[in-house]
Amino acid sequence: MRFAGNTLLTLVLIFLIGPFVIICIAGLSGGETLAFPPQGLSLRWVQRVFEIESFRSAFWLSISLAIGSTLLALILGIPAAYALDRYNPPMAETIRNIVTAPIIVPGIIVGLALLRHLVVPLGIPITLALIIGHTALLVPYAVRVVSASLINLRTDVEEAAVMLGATRLQSFFKVVLPNIRSGILAAFIIGFITSFNQVPISLFLTGPGITTLPIGMMFYMEFNFDPSVAALSGLLAIMSLAIVMLAEKLLGLSRYV
């Protein structure tokens, strides 16, 4: 029984980590094409990643888009979560479901709908369209995660602040925000990674000359089948890992999530 359990655990771990390891090794290939096992090891494709201009511009667009749309989603999502939790507005359940809809509706439909009915008719520029699309995608995550940490904060703590002379706004900034800080950080990380890796919505909203990194990588692979995409994937995975570890180190994230 114990042996079977350990075997299962090992298989699950291999399944989870395997692709990551394979990609990393493939990215270190010395050969000309993407293959596993690689033909010899070298850092030439890792180096090549930094030389491809389209990757560089796409990387910076993706980073700014991820940070910008996550911040926007938090600015919209935190008050929404607060209002849903504290004021229990009429139809709170319906509102909650609507807010969650973008998680359920496939991204490809959201992307198409945004393109056909918002971006094209109004002539919205590509960057703005991307920000709108990603923010819409991330708001549900922000509302969900922030709600979860708000539930743990009792309302009488806010009332206590008011009784000590705080306005409702002061009590929000001095008492509520510091106490849901970890929830906000968790929402930020989830939002950032979701946006950064987002393909289906971006696919519809990117345009000539302006593209996010995952889309850029897709297009690159259509014409070039070299290991640079694998090398880039490995670098991105390491970057994500570093962000999560830094957050864990700074704020003890795992205590809250």
Binding site: R154, V157, L164, V175, N179, R181
Partner: protein
């Protein structure tokens, strides 16, 4: 001398069919400690929240220190509130919890240090100033909540069941500490509780509430010795209460004394005489309480609770004993 706090025709409504509090009138003097006493749901906490400004009255006015505060927001009333759950700020140290109100009032940091240190010393927590609230015991959290409220020198301090989350020994300790602080600081306080012993021990005046109205208001002696109704009598430990119809006790006329137009009559368990008298009852329960043994008797009048000294011969279960309800220990109740 005009009243320090005055509630006039205060009606409070949560949106239900009947108001939580209806046409409440009461007033209190500066430096007085008034207990709002009643079972849960009687409107005492609602009344307190309205005085604090956390709830808008449907009608009526609240005057504090000659100023109409009915429409004044909670943070501008100069009223402090100690919550039943303490409601300490989890992200701030003990010192910062206490300093919170002073920082909002933009008191200079030297003054903050001085005042917070002083108030922490007076509640005996100086050594814990740097701790986080979650590291404190219930009693210590209670003291921080109290210190946090008094350091801003409110005109009126409201305490919502402040001792109900503490164990019995701590409760007694905190009770005498509250008493001492009130004497020292002379703060006007309203103390909300469902515990009659707490109210008796602390209050200058007790207001017993029932279903959103004031049932009786008076000194602890008034309430304890001269309850006006069966409700108050029951609440103050008169375990044997009987309704009177036309001055007569159901079934049996009270032996030889005038009940006038009273609606009820009551005896405390220790006022019931055991072993002699006109009535008979069967022992159906006995609890040893240390000094005394409390017997539950099944009688034609209904269940009677009676006390006898523990040193007296004990009565066994099922034993039939005579008892008397003497005029000396009886209290007549004007209302049901």
């Amino acid at each position: 001398m005009s009243d320090f706090l005055k509630l006039e025709k205060l009606t409070l409504n949560y949106g239900g069919p009947t108001p939580a509090v209806e046409n409440l009138d009461f007033s209190m003097q500066a430096s007085e400690l008034v207990a709002l006493l009643g079972p849960s749901g009687c409107g005492k906490t609602t009344t307190m929240r309205a005085i604090a400004g956390l709830m808008k009255p449907a009608s009526g006015t609240i005057m504090l220190d000659n100023r109409d505060i009915t429409r004044v927001p909670a943070n501008k009333r100069g009223v402090g509130l100690v919550f039943q759950s303490y409601a300490l700020f989890p992200h701030l140290s003990v010192f910062e919890n206490v300093a919170f109100g002073l920082r909002l009032a933009r008191v200079s940091s030297a003054d903050i240090k001085r005042r917070v240190d002083a108030v922490l010393a007076s509640v005996g927590l100086s050594h814990l100033a740097d701790r986080q609230p979650r590291e404190l015991s219930g009693g210590q959290q209670q003291r921080v909540a109290l210190a946090r409220s008094i350091v801003v020198e409110p005109k009126l301090l409201l305490l919502d069941e402040p001792l109900s989350n503490l164990d019995a020994r701590l409760r007694l300790e905190m009770r005498s500490e509250l008493s001492r602080l009130q004497d020292e600081l002379g703060i006007t306080m309203i103390y909300v509780t469902h515990d009659q012993a707490e109210a008796l021990a602390l209050a200058d005046r007790i207001i017993v509430m029932r279903e959103g109205r004031i049932e009786q208001s008076g000194t602890p002696e008034d309430i304890y010795e001269r309850p006006v109704s069966i409700f108050v009598a029951n609440f103050m430990g008169f375990e044997n209460c009987f309704e009177l119809t036309g001055g007569k006790l159901k079934g049996i006329a009270p032996a030889g004394f005038e009940t006038g137009s009273a609606a009820g009559i009551a005896w405390r368990p220790h006022a019931v005489l055991l072993g002699q008298g006109a009535h008979k009852g069967t022992v159906v329960g006995a609890s040893y309480l240390g000094q005394v043994v409390e017997y539950l008797l099944s009688t034609p009048l209904g269940d009677i609770k009676a006390e006898a000294l523990a040193s007296a011969p004990r009565h066994g279960m099922g034993e039939e004993i005579a008892f008397d309800l003497p005029q000396a220990g009886a209290v007549l109740l004007a209302r049901r």
